[in-house]
Amino acid sequence: MTKSTKIFKYVGKRLLQGIPIILAIVIINFFLLNLAEGDAVDVLAGEAGSATPEYMAQLRKKFGLDQPLPVQLMVYLKNVLSLDLGYSFRHDMPVNELIFDRFAATGLLMTSTIILAVGFGILLGLLAAMRLNTWKDAVITVFALITYATPLFWVGLMMIVVFSLNLGWFPTSGMTNIAAFYEGWDYVVDVARHLVLPTITLSLFYLALYTRMMRASMLEQYGQDYVVTARAKGLTERRITYVHVLRNALLPVVTMAGVQVGALIGGSVIVESVFAWPGLGMLAFESLFARDLNLLLGIFLLSSMLVVVVNLIVDIIYCFLDPRIEVN
């Protein structure tokens, strides 16, 4: 069997493994929905101001809320499979439409964050490991230690104080300048200017994480036998570091980048609500305030699925990066 068919089979197998996880998440979602006080009919009745018990019973029947729980669960599963995540009574829109509207903004923020955090994390970790126990190593280690301990929302607010309010370099909030109606290139520049502070804020924590990991990973690789062999062959330290050690040290960092996607989504709720960045996190924050549980559960479900998918993608990338990994 060739390598490519093997990988193909492996992807299929991993996809199958992902299905029970997604199913379990849907079931957890369903029980959370039932754990909450009151149902959709209570919400509707509350919105309307008044409703007779007869009318509410009629509504419950219409929504299938008078059915036994297992039946409701089946209906819920069927709805989720057909991408129907329920209705947001606050926004008067289906939940999936609301979510897809906001998806691009979050995608942009997360992509730029991952690039910045992974890129600089690898660079700083590499630098610290190469200059082990010098002042550069010490500075990088202390920086990583401090950012690791800083709450994201506080960093965001401090960024606003320094770079927006005092220096006036970047806008405080939002994704575009609403009053300006930019088009074409100007629009891109405008969004990029709005993107800078949220991206830096969200990256900082992960930057610290990747820096520490890259440093540890490099140090571990330096101790391996193949490095001794390379030295014995008379290779320069430069060549050993960049051609041999670096490539091997990157592997755990790539894995970590996949594992951290779930945490990144959580972080984006905080950062988006600090900077009013109009993505999924901001939507979650708004739904929290409006007590819009359907919407919050929809976001939760979608972000869980996203993690499953990203983990799968990282596994596949891993196969290509490390030829030793037997896909079986």
Partner: protein
């Protein structure tokens, strides 16, 4: 024990962290003596700058004392951090011990469940749990514990797998000890070191999650907390930077100190892992 302290002492940063945490604990315990007034009470001129109108760290838009809020908030953060960690370590030990000790189908099932909980984005899950259970100290503790136990479960499972076939455990079987007794009294004590290290770092994470929840308005409405102070101050960021700044510094110092202690514990309890910084 003396040996433990000698090894811990070698890490100067960890000793410093311990000192800082001791100070914060003293601050939390003596909060009611330092600031007898309720931290939610309006005690002076609103938006006073630090060191004016008798406010050490200034006052917020309603005239509440920021310093008093920080001192009283220390209680909340430390309490939630420790209790949530205890609960989640307990859940983690339960899952990990059964999975590792019995293996087979039990291991498969328990590890699948762990995997599911590890996949779910934890902060959003915590938000959901608190929103559904209504914000209170206990719902926050439950939410943090529910999202943080999988790591412990995996660790404990690995330790149990490594120890369960050792000779002393086989001897216990021969002596006719019950499984539960072997798990709790024979194997578990051998796994305590890594659990303590991971647990200490989890306290720091728990404090960060708690402050994030409180910042989003999901704190216990009757209890002062650092995240709440920052959340309440953010609307006045332009005119009163100090309301947000100082509580954040408090969180940073506390979490940093706990992380340093965690590293010191790691050096002291797992000396062989030292090179793995």
């Amino acid at each position: 024990m003396g040996n433990f302290w000698t090894r811990y002492k070698r890490n100067h940063a960890a000793v410093f962290g311990l000192f800082v945490i001791a100070l914060i604990i003293v601050m939390a315990i003596t909060a009611s003596f330092l600031y007898p007034e309720d931290p939610f009470r309006l005690v002076g001129k609103p938006l006073s700058e630090p060191l004016t109108n008798g406010f050490l760290l200034g006052s917020d838009s309603l005239g509440r004392d920021v310093a008093s809020g920080i001192v009283h908030g220390a209680k909340t953060s430390l309490l939630i951090g420790f209790v949530a960690t205890l609960v989640s370590v307990f859940i983690g030990i339960f899952f990990g011990a059964f999975a590792g000790y019995f293996g087979g189908l039990i291991d498969d099932i328990l590890m699948r469940v762990t995997e599911i909980f590890q996949t779910i984005p934890s902060f959003i899950f915590a938000i959901l749990l608190v929103a559904i259970l209504k914000p209170s100290m206990s719902s926050i503790v439950i939410a943090i514990a529910v999202v943080s136990w999988p790591g412990v479960a995996r660790l404990v499972r690995g330790e149990f797998l490594a120890v369960k076939n050792r000779e002393f455990v086989q001897a216990c079987h021969t002596l006719g000890m019950s499984d539960l007794r072997i798990m709790l009294w024979e194997i578990l004590p051998n796994c305590l070191s890594p659990i303590i290290v991971v647990g200490s770092l989890m306290v720091a994470t728990a404090i960060l999650i708690e402050s994030g929840l409180a910042f989003l308005g999901l704190g216990d409405p009757n209890v002062m907390s650092w995240g709440f102070l920052i959340g309440a101050g953010r609307t006045m960021l332009r005119s009163a930077w100090w309301v947000c700044t100082f509580p954040g510094v408090a969180i940073l110092i506390t979490v940093l100190a706990i992380n340093l202690i965690g590293e010191g514990l790691n050096d002291a309890l797992n000396p062989r892992l030292k090179e793995r910084q």
